[in-house]
Amino acid sequence: MPSDSTLRIVWIYPDLLSTYGDQGNALVLEQRARRRGIDAEVVHVRSADPVPETGDIYLIGGGEDRPQILAAERLRRDGGLHRAIARGAAMLAVCAGYQIMGSTFGGEEGQPVDGIGVLDISSTRGPARAVGELVAEVDSALNLPTLTGFENHMGVTQLGPGVKPLSQVVTGVGNGNGFEGCYAGHVVGTYLHGPALARNPALADLLLTWSAGDLPPLDDRWYEALRTERLSAVLPR
């Protein structure tokens, strides 16, 4: 049994939204907590099961059109995630999961589908698929280093006044208007798909800090080696 001091990382609907490496975010958070001596467990919540309200960090990943629509319906009916966010839980929503957090997103034929409305954003289907490496400079208020990752989506996302852009795109497409992702309170949305936190351990630590307070630094040798290699492969010299 997890004690009250156990950090609970809740991975929402891996059976519907886990197209490609989304598990990485859960593993990175778990490892970075444990290496600091914080007990952590990852709870997998399948789409037939209720979303627990008492988690510390919620993760939701990418997916195909049909599973995305199913996931949005189920989350709205369930209500657990809404209550957790209202309580102040942290959340990282990725790609299809990011779009679901808004008021609407584009379905298989581009038709508008209702999101769950926890972020003030709305998404549509863009003209072309954005596939490739993405680099972006994070909003200075968050005090994070450059974002690096891979995007693979057709979404275009408009940000409302209730959210702030997470970052400004240097290379890549992101939201489609020069910005990439958004945040509001402790909820972060991004098009960096799959294991975004593996490339951005500082973002992982931000989510952990929101839940567990200040954290000592870690030996980030392999994270840094990968970041350096990727950024130098992508950025113009």
Binding site: P14, D15, L16, S18, T19, Y20, G21, D22, Q23, G24, L27, V28, Q31, R46, S47, A48, E64, D65, R66, P67, L70, V131, G132, F150, N152, H193, G194, P195, A198, W222, Y223, A225, L226, E229
Partner: protein, 409 residues
């Protein structure tokens, strides 16, 4: 046999010359360029080459090349077979394969999952073999629910006889619009892409190999063929010990599919099975290369399901070298590394190389698997004690090792 129209004969002949030239100049095995030249001169060439032959199309995320080879090997028992042995699995490769064996009464073609509808429409193949569907190189491959949906549309209303693995729910859904299906229980090791019902999105309940949707009537069909550990039970209930040389459960599953396809061509198990046993290596997979007393066995794994199969084959008592690239054919996105459970490697000496070795290094670090980083495969091999070592590499990493050590097949 097939009497091609003059224009198609010419296109086919010129394509073959282009392929020969390409081989002679060392630009590859020529199967793609030859087919492209032929198709340029006669866009209808594939349909014309396919006419009057009995064809099987083989598609899946994993095991296409091997199963194509096994079925080819079996059908050779009955006569000449045209096949795209080197995995050129799009229409240009099919044209090339059929051109090279223009009198072969049989054709066994590996087909890229995305191209299956098009190739089925064009060739009117009588038999289609579908084995598994799982996440694969998302930046270039199609999404798999969408793929299965396209298979359904392509198979609907055609007389095609489908041989399909009913242990994979998505394959079952993709195959079930066909007029005639022979279901094979071939097993399913990778389940992460089929926890939900493709028909309604509800949860699938599983018990052993059986699965059924909790919310609608979609469920696993009764198989006619069953893979039972190291044996296959045929539709008459007779048990055949496979005893094939290709290693691992995935290849036993491929062999079960191959026997069912052979029977659809009228070739009984007692004649097909000895032919399957002759296959020892497929396009370099499972071969061993040697340098300075280090014997490295090469395993190809291109996606998470493929890595599970490779771990199953790999010998836990040996050190292991992992090599990962992210060139075009590999997919440029390495996110899939996070879907592979590497903890199974704990306790083994692990060496990491390839162009994207740092992606893999971090993945292993997070999984608490100790490893040694090597700049090149040669360096990783030289670091081994003399003796055997296993190698798992993805597509271009595998090809690089093969070309450095000679393309011994």
């Amino acid at each position: 046999m097939t009497q091609l129209p003059l224009r198609a004969q010419l296109a086919s002949a010129l394509g073959r010359s282009a392929a020969t030239l390409s081989r002679m100049t060392g630009r590859g095995d020529g199967s793609v360029i030859g087919g492209r030249v032929g198709l340029m001169l006669e866009p209808d060439l594939l349909r014309q080459l396919a006419r009057d032959r009995r064809l099987a199309l083989i598609s899946a995320t994993n095991g296409k090349t091997t199963t194509t080879r096994l079925i080819t090997s079996a059908l050779l028992e009955m006569g000449e077979v045209a096949t795209n042995a080197y995995g050129a699995n799009m229409p240009a490769g099919h044209v090339s394969a059929l051109s090279q064996h223009k009198d072969a009464p049989y054709g066994v073609l590996e087909v890229d999952e995305k191209y299956l509808p098009e190739v089925l429409d064009t060739t009117g193949a009588g038999v289609v073999c579908l084995m598994n569907l799982s996440r694969d190189q998302m930046d270039r491959a199609a999404e798999i629910w969408l793929l299965a949906q396209k298979w359904r549309r392509a198979l609907s209303g055609k007389p095609t006889h489908v041989i399909a693995n009913c242990d994979d729910p998505l394959v079952t859904w993709g195959a079930s619009t066909a007029a005639k299906v022979t279901w094979v229980s071939g097993g399913q090791r990778w389940k992460e892409d089929s926890w939900c019902c493709p028909e309604c999105g509800g949860p699938l309940d599983r018990k052993d190999r059986h699965w059924a949707c909790r919310e609608c009537t979609f469920h696993r069909p009764e198989p006619q063929w069953i893979l039972d550990d190291d044996a296959v039970i045929d539709p008459r209930g007779q048990r055949w010990v496979l005893d094939i040389q290709l290693p691992g459960a995935a290849n036993r599953s491929n062999a079960a599919m191959a026997l069912a396809v052979a029977e659809a061509f009228g070739l009984p198990v007692e004649r097909a099975l000895p032919r399957l046993r002759e296959v020892t290596s497929v396009a370099g997979r499972y071969t061993t290369v040697e340098r300075d007393g280090r014997h490295a066995r090469l395993l190809l794994a291109k996606n998470p399901a493929g890595w599970l199969e490779a771990f199953d084959v790999s010998d836990p008592a040996l050190p292991i070298i992992l090599s990962v690239n992210a060139q075009g054919p590999d997919g440029r996105d390495t996110s899939w590394l996070w879907d592979v459970d590497y903890r199974i490697l704990r306790g083994r000496p692990v060496f990491v190389t390839g162009e994207r070795r740092l992606d893999l290094a971090l993945r292993l670090d997070v999984a608490d698997v100790p490893f040694v980083l090597a700049d090149t495969f040669s360096e990783a091999l030289a670091a081994q004690p003399p003796g055997r070592v296993d190698v798992i590499a993805n597509y271009t990493a595998f090809q690089q090792i093969r070309s450095e050590f000679g393309r011994a097949v």
